[in-house]
Amino acid sequence: MLNMSIAEIKNHLRKFRVGIAGAGGLGSNCAAALTRSGVGTLVISDFDVVEETNLNRQFYFTDQVGMLKTMALKENLFRIDDSVSVVTYQDKLHKSNISRIFSGCDVVVEAFDKPEMKEMLIETLQAEMPGTPLVIGSGVAGGGNNEAIRCRKIDDTLYICGDEISEVTENMLPMAPRVEIVANMQANVVIEILMQKK
């Protein structure tokens, strides 16, 4: 990215397709960062609707409460850049549809809430799309403790963003700053991978 103009970077990123599994706090904010950076196509999967309690951290607005997250997010991304292509899926993801939905993606971002879903996505994608880098989020809850948040590369196909400790519980809820830091870290890994790709 050294010595490249923003237009040149966008022109390069335009060629790529990024999958986002889940459009909650991680997925919606990550999608916004990738759209602003110029990624050409986003494949976004989520079956939920926007709730008022989501607005403390997710990239939605008060007048979108009740809308499908995929539809609301598409609308918001087009307001950033109407040249982005957004492919949406409202099906719940399971072992048998994951690789069909994300086939052709250059990178996939894991942005689920439940650890069982994270595990299922990671196991399925690493087995069925073995060369495709996967960027997962783990440990986003609470506030403060900036220094614990990190990004770790396991190998060329697996990256972890988050503190890998802070679980969402009744006493430790997710809030905008830490969720958005991790979402943007995931986007930053995606950009780094794509900038090295021809």
Partner: protein, 67 residues
């Protein structure tokens, strides 16, 4: 034997151990996790039958709820 566990050297008295034995010996009790050995993901059902040997590169990631 010596292995790399999350990029740190770990020594065990035996020549080889299963993934389940390693988890017991290290007292890793948190159950939501993924494990890769030499970049190959090992699914949960294979923790008993997958053997870790000298020189293996083992990486473990905890999956925390929230996203």
């Amino acid at each position: 034997m010596k292995i790399l566990l999350n990029k740190r050297v770990e020594e065990f008295d035996k020549d080889s151990i299963s993934v389940s034995e390693m988890l017991d010996l290290k007292k890793f009790s948190f159950r939501m996790r993924i494990i890769k050995i030499n970049s190959i993901l090992i699914s949960k059902e294979k923790y008993d039958s997958t053997i870790i040997r000298d020189g293996d590169d083992v990486q473990m990631v905890y999956l925390m709820s929230g996203g």
